[in-house]
């Protein structure tokens, strides 16, 4: 689907253990003759050494950790296009924006494909992007999919955003009927350029339970992430802190490499972040610019929203 074949080398940086994400990709890759390095997440130095020593061609990794690894690669003065053999990466396990995909693709000089799955449905591979990267094909011969309004439980038409609900069609021991994934997406029913007839879903826009409410407005962290990734001078790490019901604070690290010593530029950048978040969410945020390395580094699923509110 994405060009992976015998002879490729997959570095699997997902968590092995009770999480199915690593295993499904591991066994799937082995089945078509791909060498798998079971790296697991973390120990970034070693990750990079493995990439170099084994000539890793593919990564399976979370988006937040991919960004971090890419920035460490740069800090170490490694040119991924020259010094590494990476061709593509499969990203999953947490939602991320199109801007984040482009950013990692540019940094590492690779193609990134979205992968969707959940442990209850055997793990990754429920849906996968083809080479056109325009949504994830769901294996409809294996899953019956619906999208519903998370508040009413009613199905909604294709093309509208709602919660994905799946029913297994071939599972024998533990079939699941109309299982609510809590993942927000929409069905793309138009035929895909690749010719596959399985319908697609859009990238996961968030969790129906990640959504938070400020000033009565429903906001998803991905809306904020999309804005931040579109602004030059901002580094990849961010955090949304909620202290009250009518204010949100967005903490962002500035990009060390783009700092030019001019405070005017930082002030303009901060204003731009405020304006763009306000137009994306209808809520004017407080924005704090932080020194790089101030926010916790994510190795695995990133915690983006810190909700300190009490009722």
């Amino acid at each position: 689907m994405t060009g992976a074949k015998r002879g490729d080398i997959l570095q699997n940086s997902m968590t092995y253990g009770l999480f199915t994400g690593a295993f499904v990709m591991h066994y799937g890759a082995e089945k078509i003759g791909i060498l798998v390095i079971p790296a697991g997440p973390g120990n970034t130095e070693r990750q990079i050494n493995l990439m170099r020593d084994f000539g890793t061609t593919m990564l399976h990794i979370t988006p937040s950790y991919a960004l971090y690894v890419a920035s460490v690669i740069y800090d170490k003065g490694i040119d991924p296009r020259r010094d590494l053999k990476l061709k593509r990466a499969y990203l999953g396990a947490e939602p991320y924006s199109e801007e984040t995909r482009k950013k990692i693709e540019d940094m590492l000089g690779i193609d990134i494909y979205n992968c969707y799955g959940l442990t209850e449905m055997n793990g990754p591979g429920v849906g996968f992007e083809c080479k056109y990267k325009e949504g994830l094909h769901i294996w409809e011969d294996n899953f019956l999919m619906e999208v519903i309004n998370p508040e009413t439980g009613e199905p909604i038409p294709d093309g509208e955003i709602g919660e994905l609900v799946l029913t297994t069609l071939n599972r024998e021991a533990m079939p699941l009927i109309r299982y609510r994934t809590r993942d927000l997406t929409k069905i793309i029913s138009e035929p895909c350029k690749c010719g596959r007839t399985h319908r697609r879903i859009s990238r996961i826009l968030g969790r129906s339970d990640d959504m938070f409410i400020v000033k009565g407005v429903n906001i998803f962290p991905q809306q904020i992430e999309q804005v931040l990734m579109s602004i030059k001078g901002v580094a990849q790490n961010y955090q949304i802190v909620l202290e009250s019901y009518d204010e949100m604070t967005v903490k962002v690290e500035i990009d060390r490499e783009l700092f030019d010593g001019k405070i005017e530029r930082l002030i303009r950048m901060k204003d731009e972040i405020v304006d763009k978040i306000r137009s994306a969410t209808m809520v004017k945020p407080k924005v704090e610019l932080l020194e790089p390395g101030t926010l916790p580094i994510s190795e695995g699923k990133a915690k983006r929203v810190i909700d300190n509110r009490t009722i």
Binding site: F259, D260, G261, K262, I263, L266, G293
Partner: protein
């Protein structure tokens, strides 16, 4: 005209930030000749002119600070009333906008310099070359 440099460090407005930066410089025996702090709501930029600018820049970067090296111009001010005014007047008559400024007093020679960062240093130097100004030579501060 030789180049002098300002080192700029990004800092959040939190206690101890200036202390952390100056400690690094002190421990490396780097002498701060001039400095300024510009701050706004939440963050600021600390600027230094030091004797060993390249060393200071590398060291701060290595210690994880967010730092940049900016070219600057040092212009001698007369030690008399209106000394600063004279210099600033010339800059503004040439349409040169000062982005940051600090003062360096050369202790041994009893001279004071206005250290300015401008948008385009080479252009500014070109505009100023025929003026009756004395510029700070980097060799004087090393």
């Amino acid at each position: 005209m030789n180049k002098v440099y300002m080192i700029s460090v990004f800092a959040e407005n939190k206690p101890g930030r200036l202390e952390r930066v100056t400690k690094v410089l002190a421990e490396a025996n780097i002498n701060i000749l001039a400095f300024s702090i510009t701050s706004t709501n939440g963050f600021g930029v600390i600027k230094f002119m030091v004797n060993k600018w390249k060393e200071a820049y590398d060291l701060l970067r290595e210690k994880g600070f967010t730092v940049s090296l900016n070219e600057a111009i040092g212009i001698e001010m007369k030690d008399q009333p209106g000394g600063l005014y004279e210099v600033v007047k010339i800059l503004s008559s040439k349409g040169i906008n000062i982005e940051s400024a600090s003062v360096y007093v050369a202790e041994t020679r009893k001279r004071a310099y206005l250290i300015v960062e401008v948008e385009d240093t080479s252009k500014a130097k070109e505009l100023l070359k025929d003026e009756n100004l004395k510029f700070l030579n980097p060799e004087e501060i090393q």
